[in-house]
Symmetry: C2
Amino acid sequence: MVVKNQIKFIKNLYQKKYRIQHGMFVAEGMKAVSELLNSHFRAHKIYCTDTESFKKFDVEVQQITENDLKKISGLQSPNKVLAIFKIPTPKIVDHNDWILALDDVRDPGNLGTIIRLCDWFGVHNLVCSLNTVDCYNPKVLQATMGSIARVNIVYNDLTVFLNSAQCLVYGAFMGGANVYDEELPERGILVMGNEANGISEKVTQLITKQIAIPQFGEPTTESLNVATATSILLNEIRRK
Amino acid sequence: MVVKNQIKFIKNLYQKKYRIQHGMFVAEGMKAVSELLNSHFRAHKIYCTDTESFKKFDVEVQQITENDLKKISGLQSPNKVLAIFKIPTPKIVDHNDWILALDDVRDPGNLGTIIRLCDWFGVHNLVCSLNTVDCYNPKVLQATMGSIARVNIVYNDLTVFLNSAQCLVYGAFMGGANVYDEELPERGILVMGNEANGISEKVTQLITKQIAIPQFGEPTTESLNVATATSILLNEIRRK
């Protein structure tokens, strides 16, 4: 069984301030937990309804009932396992390939989708502004489908990061140059903006080249969602 | 005020069987309702907290309180207006441009995003298999951001539709040919599959060419979400 203190500790980790305080986060579900265990992430403890799957890992495993799992889970349909992992120290950002940078992306689903896209397109470094939603937020983790294990995510003041950039900085703007006509280089930084306001003014000043995805429909059409636009631009970067 | 019968009628329209029975659906929010009013969609009735904005339209408008709006709304934060529209008769599918076809896409958010993408990329015809989620589902409408006013959506048996196709039929498959290497024609049909199972066997038999978005990350990476994959493939179709 899980005792009151354990429940409280785990539930606290659903809040950012406690994740920072303890340096830990919660992951759920067989796929996500397995991918994290098989990566550089270090587990602190595993709670699961069937301990067999986790015997080979060097970590404390506690067998619990499905009812116990419901008490500590943040999901509507808990899936066999909940694990507490240590938040890893981010690696130094490698400037020898494309880097994706996010300027205040706030929606957990969008960040999760974007992390999954980085993984798909082999973009190993994701730099997030300090006001971007926390990547260890349970909803983000849920949307990443385990991809977080393979992307180096760094939170930083974007202006400081871009000021020290050793490559061209591209930014997605509604009025930017048609991306189809751009000769995209082998390495660079792509900045994507906030859902409602796009890229902030102070970050805009550090953009070398403003680019856009051409629109083929009516001009009244709503702009593309940030995750969708990211998918198209990462595809453009990789296809060249 | 809204009376009991009105509330019941509107709430019923949140269910597909009543939408079919009455041939009507509910749209909410200033943006979505305005875009539908300015399109070929015909409104049946408008309920709003401020009738001023809708005076110019030839439709019955009823002023209601915010409290009344809460009673009939399907949203957590209702936004000034709720309108009942007649479900339009789909237009004949135009085979002179690209057509997107969906084989049992079930998630309302995915369908909404895909309709928005069709609008962005000027793909005017969307053919949905009979088991694809209903495009007049409130969650789909919410995700389309008004784009539904500009895309002709037809529900049909996909095998019947594809059998009578007058152009090449492309389908997205994990193991398909690299889309970057394809000479995509001026017109054609692109088929996208179900979230969990991809394109069904009987539809697969009617696909002329299986295509895929190349993966650049680790081979363990989860496949792209159907809405994300659609955004990349529609971009590939239009960029050529």
